[in-house]
């Protein structure tokens, strides 16, 4: 396009040139490359988890397409006649039989199944770690709040994609998982049974659930994920990538490398690294050995039945919930004019409340923090987690809350592998679910504050070198080496919000919400380690490191060692 702007038509000399020119004049490729190729991205290893998630998703699409060629999502009954002897002649659904065929009778099928499943686990793990990185570094703040919400929706969609896929082989394990979902749905008051019948086309398990899940799994959910990934990445380009504070890095620039050629090459290479790791894992480690579980039949349940890891925390919450508390039952039978309705709080509460709390807080967090700080400015510089102690503490509390439920999903394996009682594991985890987040919050916040103090100490007095020197007058000191300017910049330049007390409105009146905000502000910022100011730095250096080095003469004596 731009080439024709000069008035004189550009005439390529080679055939390759003619073809590229033809494409360029019609698509405008060079403008895109010019714009996007010069986009600068900063470099930090924690910025690459989103990329890992994207690549695992691409691998999911590739391996999933292969699987659809051979998978038959039908619940029609058949007798298995494949090459796996321990199941030969057993009655099963077409879905399970074709999954077994993929595993045993289609060349490369088992490998592709394992690639698909391992990359699914990695996909959700990478999404989660990516979100944790964004949370703990404060990358969700203005202008990125909506992108954070999109990320949260992507996490939910990733879990949905995983769960629908996990159910497709129609083996005993996945059938048990569906039965739990059926139970959760049925626990919804009044309409639960109707929803369940609608979902399963009649009484569980019925004959339609696998084809329905299949459509969700290969069409609707991946399409939504793709769409949201597109918006997500578009917004990353629009907002520009965040960066950690450092010399020359400001709120208005991005210091890093351009997409072309550096990141195009790096990211392309990284895709193959991720693919290679997944392929190596899939070749060497089995995942979801469906042949072990046998066809689904509503009567048997195998020991060690768990969902995949990303659904584990919900399963764990169900395992932790008591049926009665003392004499207080969680199952209520409420008489209505049309008959008695059962309210199964022992299923409904654990299935909905913890997940509800986690996702509500997750989605609302950017606005909660903006409300507390009253800081609505754009933030393109990241926080180191230690420099936002309360946020870090709350994040750790959330992680502990999640991990306790996660651990509860494997309570039976904890019991057998650590030779403890299953009941005791449950009791401990129940207590930890409430105590753990509090302890986690306090500990993480104290550690963050302590690390901030350590940073101050290093800026003011330098690093301990471990060199002990004896001064001429007999005193022993340890030599401290001042940090260089670049490191010091990192340690002193960070946002450190202070408590913002309740502000009166135009009438001089302090509203209740403002008082509440002031309370939250105190909770967030009362314990605060301020960054070293230039004046403090000046003072520390001019006063001879608090008398550690007595005189110029001594200094010379030290440096000669």
């Amino acid at each position: 396009m731009s080439s024709s702007a000069a008035g004189q038509q550009y005439q390529p000399k080679t055939s390759v040139g003619r073809i590229t020119n033809f494409v360029d004049t019609r698509v405008g490729g060079s403008a895109i490359v010019k714009e996007f190729g010069r986009k600068i991205f900063p470099d930090h290893w924690t910025f690459m988890f989103g990329e890992v998630a994207l690549y695992s998703f691409v691998i999911l699409l590739l391996s999933g397409t292969f699987l659809t060629f051979f998978f038959d999502p039908s619940m029609a009954e058949t007798h298995y006649d494949g090459s796996y002897v321990p199941l030969r002649g057993i009655e099963m659904s077409m879905a399970y039989a074709s999954s077994l065929d993929i595993s045993f009778d289609i060349r490369g099928g088992l490998f592709m199944r394992q690639v698909h499943h391992w990359s699914a686990l990695l996909f959700v793990a990478a999404v989660s770690v990516h979100m944790l990185r964004v949370f703990f570094t404060g990358a969700f703040r203005r202008p990125r709040e909506l992108n954070w919400v999109i990320g949260g929706v992507l996490l939910i969609l990733a879990m949905a994609a995983g769960f629908t896929g996990y159910s497709l082989p129609d083996d005993l394990l996945s059938g048990n998982g569906l039965r739990i979902i059926d139970g959760v749905v049925k626990s919804i008051p009044v309409v639960g049974t109707y929803i369940s019948f609608f979902l399963f086309g009649g009484e569980f398990p019925g004959t339609v659930i696998i084809p329905r899940l299949y459509v969700l799994h290969i069409l609707l959910i991946p399409a939504l994920i793709l769409l949201l990934i597109g918006i997500h990445l578009f917004l990353v380009v629009v907002h520009k990538h965040t960066q950690f504070p450092g010399p020359g890095r400001t709120n208005d620039n991005v210091v890093g490398f351009p997409v072309g050629p550096v990141y195009a090459a790096k990211a392309g290479g990284f895709f193959f690294i991720v693919f290679g790791i997944i392929a190596a894992i899939s070749a060497a480690f089995t995942i979801n050995p469906i042949w072990n579980y046998g066809p689904y039949d509503p009567s048997p349940v195998s020991a060690g039945t768990q969902p995949d890891w990303y659904i584990g925390w919900v399963d764990g919450a169900l395992r932790l919930m008591p049926g009665v508390l003392g004499n207080f039952p969680f199952e209520w039978n409420i008489p209505f004019p049309w008959g008695t309705n059962t309210l199964s709080l022992n299923v409904l509460l654990p299935a909905l409340v913890p997940a509800g709390i986690v996702f509500m807080l997750l989605f609302a967090w950017p606005w909660i923090e903006a409300w507390v700080t009253k800081d609505r400015r754009e933030k393109h510089l990241l926080d180191r987690p230690r420099n936002a102690p309360t946020r870090t503490g709350i994040g750790v509390a959330g992680v502990v809350f999640y991990c306790v439920m996660w651990a509860a999903a494997s309570s039976d394996l904890i019991a057998t592998h650590f030779m403890v009682s299953l009941n005791d594991v449950t009791y401990w985890l129940r207590a930890l679910l409430f105590i753990g987040p509090v302890v986690g919050f306090i500990a993480a916040r104290r550690i963050a504050l302590a690390l901030q103090r350590k940073d101050r100490e290093i800026v003011l007095h330098g690093r301990e070198t471990g060199r002990i020197v004896r001064l001429p007058h007999g005193e022993f000191i340890e030599v401290h080496e001042p940090v260089d300017e670049y490191k010091r910049y990192k340690l002193v330049s960070f946002d450190s919000p202070e408590v913002l007390s309740a502000q009166p409105d135009v009438n001089g009146h302090v509203p209740k919400t403002e008082k509440r905000r002031a309370w939250a502000s105190r909770f967030f910022f009362e314990d605060r380690v301020a960054p070293v100011t230039p004046a403090e730095l000046e003072q520390a250096h001019s006063h001879g490191h608090h008398g550690e080095v007595a005189s110029e003469h001594d200094k010379a004596a030290i440096s000669s060692h």
């Binding site: 321990p86 490398f257 979801n288 042949w291 005791d424």
Partner: protein, 262 residues
């Protein structure tokens, strides 16, 4: 017949009739269900029983009582049969190391001959399942697929679908079945050791038991078709693996990829 018909209106006639009916059906059931009782092996000699009693008094009577009548610390062994002794002592579970939720496997404490003698003694106290012989353990013609189905319906809820074991309440557990001999599996099914229920011949026929054993043998022999099985523990070990090993390797690569430029 006349005497009988004269008394047919006697006040106790109905009671007598009921008694006779009960005796008849009970008797028939007893005869029929005798077929279910594993045939008490009678090859033990009187010497075995005598020696077995001595061993029993010295090693088992503390808990099971003199004459195996049971005490507060251990159940009565009358009628448990030779198979129970052979299983419990033969796998080292008995004598018990200490009271606990469940007897643990440990090195076997007695010789095969001594176990035989104790089995003989306990079998002599009352009829019970006998030690399975060649005939019961003959897997010729057993159907592993049918055995797999029986295993999933009857055993997998405790022992795990891949027989890797699982947790029960309060520190009890169903052990992994890897490396357990055919005879021990059979004995466990007929005697129901520890917390295991008894699967007598009416629940699972001897052929069904053979099918189950054939299934367990085949899944143990074939190994894991998809690569290392991570303990056959299901999604927990898979999730742990991807978080620790998978993400670990990927983080190592991300650190490597970004370290060059700075």
């Amino acid at each position: 017949m006349k005497a009988l018909s004269q008394r047919r209106r006697h006040p106790l006639a109905a009671v007598a009739l009921l008694l006779m009916g009960l005796l008849l059906t009970g008797g028939i059931y007893a005869v029929a269900s005798n077929a279910n009782q594993a045939k008490a092996q009678t090859t033990f000699s009187a010497g075995d029983i005598e020696e077995g009693e001595k061993l029993f008094v010295a090693n088992c009577a503390t808990c099971h009582g003199i004459g195996a009548v049971g005490t507060a610390d251990g159940p009565s062994l009358i009628g448990v049969g030779a198979a129970a002794v052979d299983f419990q002592v033969g796998t080292g579970r008995m004598p018990l190391q200490m009271q606990g939720p469940q007897a643990l496997q440990k090195p076997v404490q007695f010789t095969g001959e001594q176990i035989q003698q104790m089995s003989a003694y306990v079998a002599s106290l009352g009829a019970g399942p006998a030690i399975p012989g060649e005939e019961e353990l003959d897997l010729e013609g057993a159907d592993p697929a049918a055995g797999g189905e029986l295993f999933r319906v009857n055993c997998a809820m405790c022992h795990n679908a891949a027989a890797a074991g699982g947790a029960l309440t309060r520190g009890k557990f169903a052990p992994s079945l890897e490396g357990v001999s055919d005879k021990e599996i059979y004995e466990a099914m007929v005697t129901g050791p520890q917390n295991m229920p008894v699967f007598n011949d009416a629940n699972i026929t001897p052929e069904g038991k053979q099918d189950i054993i054939a299934f367990l043998n085949i899944i143990e022999e074939q190994g894991s078709p998809g690569g290392a099985d991570l303990g056959s523990l299901g999604p927990v070990s898979e999730g742990l693996f991807i978080w620790v090993a998978g993400l670990g390797v990927i983080i190592a690569f991300t650190v490597w990829l970004t370290s060059r430029s700075s």
